[in-house]
């Protein structure tokens, strides 16, 4: 088996990002869309940590902490919006929220 290099992590990160993007684009339920966004942010973090290790520089890991902070804020606000939406429209499907469409 080959030793694991930074390239392995880059391709894993690309695959995770693709999975998350498929989730965001194809799922109807807003809850699963928010989960897919978490997957995408995790892909970013894998990349940052891999390059932090590769370049011998701690800044990548500090950036990952900021990304995790953003993910927490985004989940809280997104789920708040979801609850407000469910109270007003009785649905959590993204394609049924179409009052701006014509």
């Amino acid at each position: 088996m080959h030793p694991i290099t930074v390239v392995h992590y880059i391709f894993l990160s690309a695959a995770l990002l693709a999975v998350g993007a498929i989730g965001v684009l194809t799922r109807r339920s807003i809850v699963v869309i928010l989960m897919s966004i978490e997957l995408i942010l995790n892909a970013v973090n894998v990349n940052l940590v891999a390059f932090s290790k590769y370049l011998g520089n701690i800044n990548g890991q500090v950036f990952s902490i900021f990304v995790i902070t953003d993910a927490a804020a985004e989940a809280a606000v997104g789920l708040g919006i979801l609850i407000a939406l469910f109270r007003n429209k009785e649905t959590v499907n993204a394609d049924e929220v179409d009052i701006l469409k014509w």
């Binding site: 690309a14 989730g23 997957l39 290790k53 990952s64 989940a75 407000a84």
Partner: protein
């Protein structure tokens, strides 16, 4: 050798959990598989010597954000949603876009590593002889002090926003 094996185990956990997350009909199952995926990513952090981030990942994502997700799933009562079709009508367009991304990645692989250069690998972390958490905290509280404070303001705004939107009457 053991590192290689562990990398593939954690990569399989992360990717397999992610794929199952976006394909399950039941939202609660999606959440459980997302936890698996996040734990796999935490294992990858451990493998790269980022122990602090692995701890933050487990405590904050698995312990905090996922509990929040499960609470909301319970609140909006997704019982009948799992019987509807889970994908939107635009899924073929989306899959075409992802296929284009895949082709680009394969072109990179085909070009080989000689065509594009990564940076030179560094000699190690800047301050030797310190633990991972100590290095992160020293950088965070000196070089990144202003972004750190701004992050606290961001979290405050997020708290207020979440409370305001979840309230029945403002």
């Amino acid at each position: 050798m053991i590192d290689t094996f562990l990398f593939y185990v954690f990569a399989l956990l992360a990717l397999g959990g992610g794929i199952l997350t976006i394909t399950r009909r039941n939202t609660v199952h999606s959440a459980i598989w997302l936890i698996t995926s996040l734990l796999g990513v935490a294992g990858l952090y451990l493998l790269q010597g980022a122990e602090f981030l692995a701890g933050v990942q487990v405590i904050l994502y698995v312990g905090g954000i996922m509990v929040l997700f499960l609470f909301v799933i319970m609140l909006v009562n997704l019982g009948q949603e799992s019987r509807q079709k889970p994908f939107t009508g635009q899924r073929w367009i989306a899959l075409a876009c992802i296929a284009a991304l895949l082709v680009q990645t394969l072109l990179f692989v085909k070009a080989g590593s000689g065509q594009f250069r990564l940076g030179e690998p560094g000699g190690g972390f800047t301050v030797q002889g310190l633990g991972n958490s100590e290095q992160i905290s020293r950088t965070l509280f000196s070089q990144y002090l202003l972004p750190f404070e701004l992050a606290s303001i961001l979290l405050l705004v997020a708290i207020i926003g979440a409370v305001v939107m979840a309230k029945k009457r403002i």
